[in-house]
């Protein structure tokens, strides 16, 4: 068990090391998320005032889009130099490899969200932090669900043709429940007065989704990655 945890951490630490050195994925993802938010703003702000519920939707779409991009780029790194092959031939347990990559992606997306969420709150006059604890819980649970499925598929597509377009084509339909739950949960918090039971219901849904799909991903990572 301890060896497993150590293996996970070795992989995550390596990804974080590369990222802190270049900050390439972090910066580009943050600016991409910002660009998303901007584009949606032009679509949904009428007469200088944002339409209702728009902040919740825009936030989660920005997370989904930039998350997909970050996933693709993170695995593109393992494709250069074919280092993913080197990791597959190492005695590391496949599930540990999966969790290590997942943890790295989660930390990266957390950094992106720390910047984007306040920005959305500001630009759309959305009181996202009135119930900060539940909001953060929704963000964590939602990002985890998205990333759990995304890490498996991004890893699986590393050597596939048309992988850049296949990742969103596969990921978006499969993460529809996460988007719905995230948006509706956030919207419930933004209502005046906030609908806390509804938000909590969506949070429980997200946690259930996370458990189920994390389990399925751990289970299928090995057969999917061996040829």
């Amino acid at each position: 068990m301890k060896a497993f945890a150590r293996a996970v951490w070795v992989v995550t630490r390596k990804d974080l090391l590369i990222e802190t050195r270049t900050r390439e994925i972090l910066f580009t993802t943050v600016f991409f998320a910002l660009a998303c938010v901007l584009v949606f703003a032009f679509g949904f702000v009428k007469e200088g005032r944002p339409m209702e519920d728009v902040a919740a939707g825009i936030l989660w779409i920005a997370i989904a889009f930039s998350g997909t991009l970050a996933l693709g780029r993170a695995f593109e790194r393992e494709r250069q130099g074919e280092t993913l092959r080197a990791l597959l031939i190492a005695p590391i347990d496949r599930p540990a490899l999966y969790l290590g990559k997942l943890l790295g992606i989660l930390i990266l997306l957390a950094a992106v969200e720390i910047l984007i969420v306040p920005l959305v709150a500001l630009m759309f006059q959305a009181a996202l932090f009135d119930h900060a604890l539940i909001m953060v819980a929704l963000l964590v649970a939602g990002t985890l669900g998205f990333a759990a499925v995304g890490t498996l598929f991004a890893a699986m597509l590393v050597r596939t043709r048309s992988r850049d377009v296949m990742l969103p084509v596969l990921l978006y339909p499969l993460t529809v429940p996460v988007i719905i739950a995230g948006v509706r949960g956030t919207a419930a918090l933004l209502q005046q007065p906030a609908d806390l039971p509804m938000a909590r219901a969506w949070l429980s849904f997200l946690l259930f989704f996370d458990i189920v799909f994390l389990t399925i991903s751990l289970w299928t990572f090995e057969p999917v990655m061996t040829e």
Partner: protein, 219 residues
Amino acid sequence: MLNRLFVPLAVVAAAMFAYAPFMILNAPYEATMGLVQKIFYFHASAGMGLFLAAFVSGIGSAVFLFTRKPAADRVAVAGAELTVMLGLIVLVTGPLWARKAWGVWWQWDARLTSTLVMWMIFNAYLLLRRYGGPGSDRLAAAVSLFGMANVPFVYWSVNVWRTLHPTTSVIPSLKPGMRGPFWFCVVAFLLVSTLILMVRTELEKRRQELDELYLAVED
């Protein structure tokens, strides 16, 4: 496999589909929608066939991923193609019905939306198999498995999402006279679905045998 049963079952299915329009014609009219509602018999039955096909594909994929049995993969492909086909039927008949009954083509109805998502997932399955290059049979199997596992989540979340807003697209509860034709159509669709799965699996088996023959020629 069930080869001997195939022809008799196909005849039965054909007969059922030939008779179905008469049953539907004689079924009672629904109070508010009138004639238009009768599209429901095929629409809902196709929907049931669709979920059956999706589950068959998902289970076949799971078996294939963990045992590498080619037979499981054949079933998975057959199920996925059937899902896409029945999905198309549901997604075309649905809006046709909605347009005539409620005036709008699409209304983010819970069932239609869930069907759309499922349809897209299995489209992605077929795209991956076709354009993914070598090894995409395993990858697509993962997609199918995730798709199947996703069904309850998509359905539940879209349902709750939709009931928060007032909606007019509630499927009416079945009047007694409607149940007969409804279940008749359901059985007909499920029968045809099963037959199509059998044929498609067999076709895939022949394709693989052809590959093996190609290889044998080289020896």
